[in-house]
Amino acid sequence: MFPAKESRFLPMPFHSLLLFIVWLLLNNTLAFGHILLALFFAWAIPKLVSMLKHGHPTIKKPWLALRYALLVMKDILVANIEVALIVLGPLNKIHPSFIAIPLDIKSDLGVTLFASTISLTPGTVSTEISEDRKWLYVHALHMDDPEQMIKEAKERYEVPLKEILGC
């Protein structure tokens, strides 16, 4: 699925980067000793777990990824306020709905990221993915127009995700 060539030295470069950062995060420091340690773990752990690797994401457009992340964060905020209002408001006015979103994105990671985003953002929770990975079943807390919603979700999240992951 990911034909990109694999380095034996750094089998999971993205993870290595993540680990490097997380180590420094964990230790709240930029001391040289810890940077060395972080480098070590960033190298060693992926090496250790690479055998369990199922495919490695390649981020084609890092800046887009960053933008996407910020977008999602903003949406999370909004989503929360919306949900808060619904939760606190009169419940007999909400119209929950199940909908099926057709998926264009191909990779497992892509599907997962898309589903996760859906769950995190306004009033929707991913409930199920069809076996053929072509449909995402979503439960919406309040839904007036399913088609509008599907369209929006695909445009807002799936398209950039596809771009980022290049699939």
Binding site: M12, V22, I45, V49, L52, H54, L109, I129, E131
Partner: protein, 933 residues
């Protein structure tokens, strides 16, 4: 060197080994070799006899186990000499006799070994100079006689007879032990010399009656006194040489010997007289009467033995010195004639194939020589003049006349004695007449004939002894009897005469009454037999077995009631006991609350307490609905770790969290294979019962906990706080305690974990599990075995989790964390992979040998501890130092980290060995098996 007394028992002891080796030679050679050492012992005894006759008591002792009062001590006085001669002498004759008696099928080596062992035990008894040693040999006779009686163990009666003999004599032996120990306690020594000198001390001691009863129980059971006589006739299941030996000179005489031995210590009181003489009299009469009705030749002789033992006992019980002399005399006489009679009976049995006097008739024609011998011996038994039996019986009659302990009823003793003698004559007559005359044999398996020449020799010797002692008593046994009497009485030996003729006197009259009466009784036996046949015949063996089996059944029933195999009951008992043990002391506690200032209550704590309470109660209430119980349990686990966090125990909080999750996962794994629901089966009563005990224990524990917490504590912990950094090199004191101060505990702890994993692996091996194809509601399982989102996300989390565990591991020494928690985090991360991807997927990609991890984990931890040996320090002495590297700055290295690495490896290895293997079970097919519930 052979002059040492110890050789007398030692030679027979060595002799027991001889037949085991000699049995490969011919039977005669075997008999010869076997006889050699006992014969040597006999020579030794004879060689020492003159000294004894001179009134000397030869003693020899060695220290052995002074703590228990046991010394190896031997004495040879007159009494011991007398018995030694009987035991060794008759023993040698029995060896010779048995050579011919035993068939080719019987293992003669084994027989001789048992026999000599028995001889050794008997010699040991009579030569012991230490009470405990005496008892030791006493029990040894029980054991060796058991082996002899059960020699033909494939026969049911041999087994039963042997068991009965062992039980009765064993019981007596135990009583004797108690008596001996009491005597030792009173006297302050177990040396026979000291004991014999302490007669007055013992007789005046408050526990004299107890001592007397206990010792006599030993003697009576051994000597088959009423009411313990019943074992003896059933010991006849043994080969006849054994009977000849056991019932003439040895086994049964041990009891008599004991009474004679303890005579100076225990006799002379009213109680002694009452118990001993009455028992003897009863035994005398009972034995004589029953003997008459026995159709079995050996049965007759057995009951006759019982009767004669009663006679001797009666004599000893009378308490007069002359009676004691008479008793000793009769011991000799009985030994000779009874041994010869048993041997004769054996010859008859051997050559005719039967011992039933209803079949045996007119053997005179077939074996006149044997018949003559038997008749002479029987006459001695009957007390016919010119034979030895007559002499001692005369003395006995005389003594019955000279006692007055029964007051105005004293006349009864001679009367009963005469009645006993009448029956004695009658059964002797029956023995002679029924076997050798009285028509023709009926349906004998073999045509009887004379035995081999040398089989008769022992009988000839013994019968000869009966004759010569009967004719010239003083010449032959005067010295022996005198010195034996002196030893028995431990004082002045009274004047007595062994003359054959004492003139016409009462005893003589009694003898004649007995002879005449016996003849009359025998002639009129038909009426008597008819009379006797009205009584139901109880086979004591069956009665005895019946009683034992009854006891066995009752006890088994009782045990089934108590040990009913119900864990619930066992747990309940233990917890009840715990409750009582804990609650009891608390009743004395006046104020539960101490004076230590308490922490004020806050809302969060109350919230936590309520969550915990509801969670725990929910777990209990929904315990039958297992998933719900698990969720509720998780709440409890979570709150418990929050409690740890709140009260300043971050390490505990972390550990608790990790353990809780792994536990829940384990429980779910198990749940899959267990029934989903618990049937409601506890009765309300039981629920109430359990609730009550649970509530009380909970209350007690809570109370104790409160009492503890509200009191100040002075503990050793200040030391750890002070030394953690300077001595252990870490600031997280808890972790330093774990890996350093109390690293030994932790080593044990990871061992426990490793062992648990191995044990679980064993449990899983070959386990056949019923895998449900649907859940409790009957829904088939989902087809989606590895949900996409879960797999993808779990996979990305793995490196993160590993990093976190590395972080926790590395900082453990100084901050909350450490090898154990890190190990659990790693394990949980790997488990998550298993959950997300399944075993097969992981297995194909990851090759980790968990067993190796456990082994190396424990080894690393232990080796770290061992490292300090190189510096001459004790195990687990820690080492740490601070280093400085350019750019990196200062950092610390400590042996504790290596130790913690061992912990980490063991934890990961153990957890994964458990979970991964459990998972493997279920990769196979899912057979739908019927629930066996």
């Amino acid at each position: 060197m052979l002059n040492d007394l110890i050789w007398i028992p030692l030679l027979p002891l060595l002799g027991t080994l001889v037949p085991l080796f000699a049995s490969r030679f011919s039977r005669s050679a075997c008999a010869f070799l076997t006889a050699a050492l006992p014969a040597l012992a006999l020579v030794l005894v004879l060689q020492l006899a003159p000294q004894v006759f001179d009134g000397e008591t030869i003693r020899q002792s060695f220290l052995w186990i002074p703590e228990m009062g046991l010394n190896l001590a031997f004495r040879l006085d007159g009494l011991a000499l007398l018995f030694c001669l009987l035991i060794l002498g008759i023993g040698l004759l029995v060896i010779l006799y048995a050579r011919y008696y035993l068939s080719e099928k019987d293992s003669i080596g084994k027989f001789y070994a048992y026999l000599i062992l028995f001889m050794f035990a008997m010699v040991g008894i009579v030569t012991s100079d230490n009470m405990i040693q005496l008892w030791m040999f006493w029990e040894l006779t029980s054991i060796s006689s058991f082996l002899l009686i059960s020699f033909w163990g494939h026969k049911s009666e041999a087994r039963k007879g042997a068991r009965m003999a062992l039980t009765v004599t064993g019981a007596g032996g135990l009583a004797l032990l108690a008596g001996v120990l009491l005597i030792g306690n009173i006297v302050g020594s177990f040396s026979l010399n000291d004991v014999l000198a302490s007669g007055d001390l013992i007789r005046n001691h408050a526990s004299y009656p107890v001592v007397l009863v206990l010792v006599l129980l030993g003697a009576f059971t051994k000597s088959a006194q009423f009411p313990f006589h019943f074992w003896l006739p059933h010991a006849m299941a043994a080969p006849t040489p054994v009977s000849a030996y056991l019932h003439s000179a040895t086994m049964v005489k041990a009891g008599i010997f004991l009474m004679a031995r303890m005579y100076p210590v225990l006799s002379g009181t009213e109680l002694w007289f009452l118990i001993v003489s009455m028992t003897g009299l009863a035994t005398l009469l009972l034995g004589a009467y029953v003997a008459l009705f026995k159709h079995d030749l050996k049965g007759l002789l057995a009951y006759s033995t019982v009767s004669h033992l009663g006679l001797i006992t009666l004599l000893l019980g009378m308490g007069t010195e002359l009676a004691a002399v008479a008793a000793l005399f009769h011991i000799i006489n009985h030994a000779t004639f009874k041994a010869s009679l048993f041997m004769a009976a054996g010859i008859i049995d051997h050559e005719s194939g039967s011992r039933d006097m209803r079949q045996l008739n007119g053997l005179w024609k077939y074996m006149p020589y044997t018949a003559t011998l038997a008749m002479v011996a029987a006459a001695a038994m009957a007390g016919v003049p010119l034979l030895n039996g007559f002499l001692s019986k005369e003395m006995f009659f005389a003594e019955t006349l000279h006692q007055d302990s029964l007051g105005s009823l004293s006349w009864m003793v001679p009367v009963f004695a005469t009645i006993g003698a009448v029956f004695s004559v009658a059964y002797s007559l029956r023995f002679i007449h029924d076997v050798f005359f009285n028509g023709e044999p009926i349906n004998l398996p073999k045509t009887p004939h004379e035995p081999p020449r040398y089989m008769r020799v022992p009988v000839e010797i013994l019968v000869g002894l009966c004759l010569i002692v009967g004719i010239a008593p003083t010449f032959f046994i005067g010295d022996l009897l005198y010195s034996a009497s002196a030893a028995t009485l431990q004082g002045v030996v009274p004047e007595y005469s062994l003359a054959i003729w004492h003139g016409f006197n009462f005893p003589l009259l009694m003898s004649f009454i007995a002879l005449a009466g016996g003849a009359i009784v025998y002639i009129n036996r038909k009426e008597l037999f008819q009379f006797q046949s009205q009584f139901p015949e109880n086979d004591p063996k069956l009665v005895f077995e019946g009683i034992i089996q009854l006891i066995h059944r009752q006890i088994s029933r009782l045990m089934e009631l108590t040990e009913n195999g119900s864990l619930q009951r066992y747990s309940y008992m233990m917890l009840s006991l715990a409750m009582v043990m804990m609650a009891g002391p608390l009743l004395d506690l006046n104020a539960t609350e101490g004076h230590r200032p308490q922490i004020p209550i806050d809302a969060i704590s109350i919230t936590g307490a309520i969550l915990l309470t509801v969670g725990a109660l929910a777990t209990v209430i929904w315990n039958r609905d297992r998933m719900v119980a698990l969720v509720a349990l998780s709440v409890v686990g979570l709150i418990v770790s929050l409690i740890f966090a709140k009260f300043s125990a971050p390490d505990l909080a972390l550990t608790q969290l990790a353990v809780e999750v792994v536990t829940v996962i384990l429980l779910m794994l198990a749940l899959f294979f267990l029934p989903q629901r618990t049937p409601k089966e506890s009765t309300p009563l039981r629920v109430v019962r359990d609730l009550v005990i649970a509530a009380i224990i909970g209350g007690v524990i809570g109370t104790i906990c409160y009492a503890l917490m509200t009191r100040p504590l002075e503990s050793i912990s200040a030391f750890f706080l002070e030394n953690s950094k300077i001595g252990g090199g870490g600031t997280n004191v808890v972790n330093v305690i774990l890996v350093d101060f109390r690293g030994f505990d932790t080593l044990g702890e990871i061992t426990v974990l490793g062992i648990a994993a191995l044990g679980i692996f064993k449990l899983i091996a070959r386990m056949r599990l019923y895998m449900p194809a649907s859940d409790d509601a009957g829904r088939p399982w989902s087809k989606d075995s590895h949900p996409l989102m879960l797999s993808v996300v779990s996979q990305s989390l793995l490196p993160l989790a590993l990093l976190v565990s590395a972080y926790i591991f590395l900082r453990g020494h100084n901050m909350p964390g450490g090898g154990f928690i890190a190990g659990l985090v790693t394990s949980v991360a790997i488990i998550q992979q298993y959950i997300a991807h399944g075993v097969a997927w992981i297995k194909s990609r990851m090759k980790l040998d968990y067993q190796l991890m456990i082994g190396s984990g424990i080894t690393i931890a232990a080796l770290t501890g061992l490292g300090s040996w190189a510096f001459g320090r004790p195990f687990l002495t820690s080492w740490f130092d601070h280093f400085h590297l350019p750019l990196v700055g200062e950092f610390e290295l400590a042996s504790a980290m290596l130790f913690d690495l061992g912990v980490y490896l063991t934890v990961v290895g153990a957890t994964m060995l458990i979970l991964a293997n459990l998972g493997k079970l279920t990769t196979s097919e899912r057979p739908v098996l019927k629930e066996q519930n």
